[in-house]
């Protein structure tokens, strides 16, 4: 892929709009179609496209595993944490009405945070899964060929 300058340039051109669209879908999900699930996937697609064209090493440089792995859990924790906060404020678990003085504002804030949690988890999981597959392929090709008989047996 290193020589395909058309692919490389168009990837560079496409990545920002894809990511911007992902953010739009994430934060505009209340008003139109969209939400955390779709936004996470679209945002991940930008990274996957990058990894396909520029290789997994450069993709790992922008999405290192110390970022993606904790974020997988951070999204779920953010979601569950919103529930704990509503309980601390005197409501039921995940009852967003108590998050602000006006129930509508509370619902809006709650949905925003919860969708953000979903988006983070989905993005991090999709990028990690894809890079796990790609890096597996690289281990396979660089490791000594197991069928050749001289593979280290321990």
């Amino acid at each position: 892929m290193r020589m395909h300058s058309v692919l490389r340039t168009s990837t560079k051109l496409l990545m920002p709009p894809i990511m911007l669209f992902g953010l739009y879908v994430q934060f505009h999900g209340d008003y139109g179609p969209g939400g955390g699930f779709q936004a996470g996937v679209i945002f991940a697609v930008a990274f996957i496209l990058f990894a396909l064209i520029f290789g997994p090493d450069r993709a790992r440089a922008v999405a290192p595993s110390w970022v993606t792995t904790p974020l997988c859990a951070a999204g779920v924790l953010l979601y569950a944490g919103v529930g704990l906060v509503t309980m601390a404020l005197g409501g039921e678990y995940l009852n967003y009405n108590v998050l602000a003085a006006d129930p509508h504002d509370g619902q809006h804030l709650g949905i925003l945070l919860v969708e953000l949690g979903v988006g983070l988890t989905v993005w991090a999981v999709m990028v990690s899964i894809f890079l796990a597959f790609v890096e597996r392929g690289r281990v396979e090709t660089t490791a000594p060929d197991p069928e050749s008989g001289d593979a280290p047996r321990d």
Partner: protein, 125 residues
């Protein structure tokens, strides 16, 4: 008769797709092909839910600010299926990862060859 066909064809196509996926899962020995069959099966279930939520003459369940639209499609199947699609890809990825590991440890993805290798390993213990 025509009315029955036009009223029920969506279920029939869903059943055709479901059986196509089911056939791939039970008749084919290749694990990658089986996962693809499961995906077809899964899509047919999505389609079943969404066709059941559809209302003829309705519109997408987003409030029309002008207040003219009053008949909306049922939002509940959309919610259930939207999450199911993303969960589906995560579990499919898990299945594919297992297939990759099986290929590495057994050198094949064909079910009968895997079983033969397992039998031989059991016999040597």
């Amino acid at each position: 008769m025509i009315e029955t066909i036009l009223g029920l064809y969506n279920y029939w196509i869903v059943i055709v797709l479901m059986m196509a996926g089911f056939y791939t899962v039970i008749a084919r020995g290749n694990l990658a092909k089986k996962i693809i069959g499961l995906n077809i099966f899964q899509t047919s279930v999505f389609l079943l839910y969404i066709t059941m939520g559809y209302v003829r003459g309705g519109t997408a369940p987003i409030v029309d600010p002008s207040g003219e639209a009053t008949l909306y499609t049922n939002p509940l199947p959309s919610v259930l299926i939207l999450t199911a699609i993303v969960v589906g890809i995560a579990t499919t990825a898990l299945g594919l990862a297992l297939a990759v590991r099986i290929r590495e440890s057994h050198g094949t993805l064909e079910e009968d060859e895997i079983l033969a290798i397992e039998d031989r390993m059991d016999g040597e213990h």
